[in-house]
Amino acid sequence: MSSIRKEDSMLLQKQMISDHYDRLATAPEDGKKVVYTFVPGNLNELVRSFDLLPVLPEINALQSGMRKLSGEYIAEAEKHGHSEDVCTYVKCDIGMLKKGNIGPTGKRLPKPDLLLLSYTGCFTFLKWFELLREEYGDVPVAMLHVPYQANGRIEPHQRDYVVEQMRTEVIPKLEQVSGRAFDEERLREMLRLSARAEDDLVWTLESAKRTPSPIDAYFGGVYYIGPIFSAFRGTPEAVEYYAALRAEVQERLDAGLGPITPEGPMAREKYRLVVEGPPNWTSFREFWKMFYDEEAVVVASSYTKVGGLYDRGFRHDPDHPLETLADYCLGCYTNLGLPTRVELLERYIREYSADGFLINSVKSCNSFSVGQLMMLRRLEERTGVPGAFIESDLVDPRYFSAANIKNRIESYLQMLDQKRGGQAILPVRTGTIACPPPGAA
């Protein structure tokens, strides 16, 4: 029964995405305007409150990776003078554009009417949209500079700065492109819906605190974050999706079942892992299989926080619409200083009773990757839990060496086995959320 329900939410998501790409494909004929923007610090509710359609180039790039098209797109961009050294998301996107801008559902993507440069947690975003601006000619850009949380806390003047930019830069440009006036009430309404979906997302992610975990919070997690990190936050469809997802996970939880993988439900949970860093998309299934074949479940991940750190308590607040959007942007994972990232991962390792943690360091992404070797050592020191370090890339197939990665993972898990000497590990629990001790479920 749970697999039927699982399919319910999967189907729902598939339908939402395909409808969205259909709307995008016919946007020029339908007179709909299109805003390109980034996942971290996206202002989806604001964009949609103007009846504008968002396009997220990062999502297109990762989809191209999963559809095995990214290698060709990257080669195309490199042919046009883009360096082999830089972020492959950018090159994948530019290559896709050069080859006709056919989106993940096989339909053409419309040109942007506005590039909303939410400059949150990554410098490459700036260059990416400057490059797109040159590619598309006269497209206006709305720049939203989100200051970095070097100390892991939001200073009032940082919030003010972001809000002021929304007032003076972003909203006027959205008004201009859409031909509509800013409607604060409509925005509040959408933020209310965001918060509801966020509650259910957090509940779902935190279900992994149970043993066995009913979800995989990385390989499964990337699907769970799909709607809320992209075009659907603040929509009734997202509320519906997350309610359905929660109901399915609740069922698995009640039945003491593990996560569902592409090859069916996992029968046993042998290792509980925390993962830092984005996944590889070109060999996503193969990568996932390396884990579930070994009965390793990812119970928490940082990647599922790039579009918002809801599990630390943040919710969009309809009573302070622009301020809450500012706080949202400021708080995205890659916008946090390294010490805060280490603290967060430490909490995950403890609260989710992890046996180990793994860092997937991707070549493309300096924002994630710089400092990860130090994070590895700090986390080992602070938790006493050994970590593993692997290297790959997001969408450049040249940087996924399956044999090496598989070896690394297998020997790491063997090491965890030896360390526990055949005994089940009972990690210290410092979590604030009540859940039964390992093995009780």
Partner: protein
Amino acid sequence: MLRELLATAQSLSDDIDFTAVKRWKESGRKAVGHMPTYVPRELIHAAGMLPVGITGGGASLEIIRGDAYFQSYICRIPRSTIELALSHRLDILDGMLFPSICDVIRNLSGMWSMLFPDRYVHYVDVPQNFDEAVGGRFWRRELETLRRDFEELAGTTITDDALRASIAVYNENRRAIRDLYRARSGRPWIFPMSESYLLLRAGNVLPPDEHTAMIREYLALAPSDSERRDQDRSRVVLSGMFCEQPPHGLVLTLERAGCYVVVDDFLIGLRWLQQDVSTSGDPLDNLVDAYLHHSAMSASRYAPEGDRGRWLVESVERNEAEGVVFCAPSFCDPALLDQPMLVAALDRKGIPHTEFKYSEDTGQFAVIREQAGTFSDSIRLWSEA
């Protein structure tokens, strides 16, 4: 005299033990380091401290520990900077600033605060919004924070008068650097880049007034060397070296390959503010105004008006250059992501260009020499035709 001056600049430039900074500190004063590119050095100076530009370890520093901190696909400057710190060469710094230039320097700031929890570390988040009421207000708040922090660090008060005086000192310094560039662009055979390289690098560790004096002296002395003659080389702009430094040998190689480098973005932080900062009125407001309206264009700074390559084209035209050499550090996202836009702008104008990558420890220059030589020959032929 000229030779001695250049030898002094060279030894300051090469000195990874920061002897000059140690000397400064002998009298009990403090020093604050900063990575490239822009930080408001006036504030450090006004607190009676020495701003020290940290630009990696160069070719002479052996990396023993630094590689354990960075993956192979990350540029070299953070690993050599960590190496400098772990080998205690940076213990002389009482604080360290990390300007917002790229994700590498940004994350390095977090690594620093974990490695050295007792030292002052600050990430300097410069605004990418250039509206006075928005980005300006934000930047003023950041400057106020820095002012308070430096007061605490130095155990002093930074008065407005002191700050105005420091602004004047740095105006002098920037003016001298502008004069140096102007002189070089006019007669590059008398003021070659390989020498201004050394002079600018000396500015990383010298107090600003001493640095200004050094440049002025050089400008006075260099023309007296009768061996310096125009050699019919091609005039090029060098672009991409605003952060990780090229080895000195690379610049010499370009010159030997037949290039006069008439402009570059080398150590651009020293001349980030392109006009004098006003010394009357509120000094913080003046620094804000200068940042918003008179900053250099660089890859990590947003160009609201678009047309990214315009400043490069203008620079080529203003300096009557015949071509552009893109010379960026390997794995440098800002420089390498910027490059296609700059290339397109040059292509639109029919300005020739060539490109290669380096790292601060590049030791083999044969390929670069050949490539730059071919480029230089071709643009000379091209301009003759």
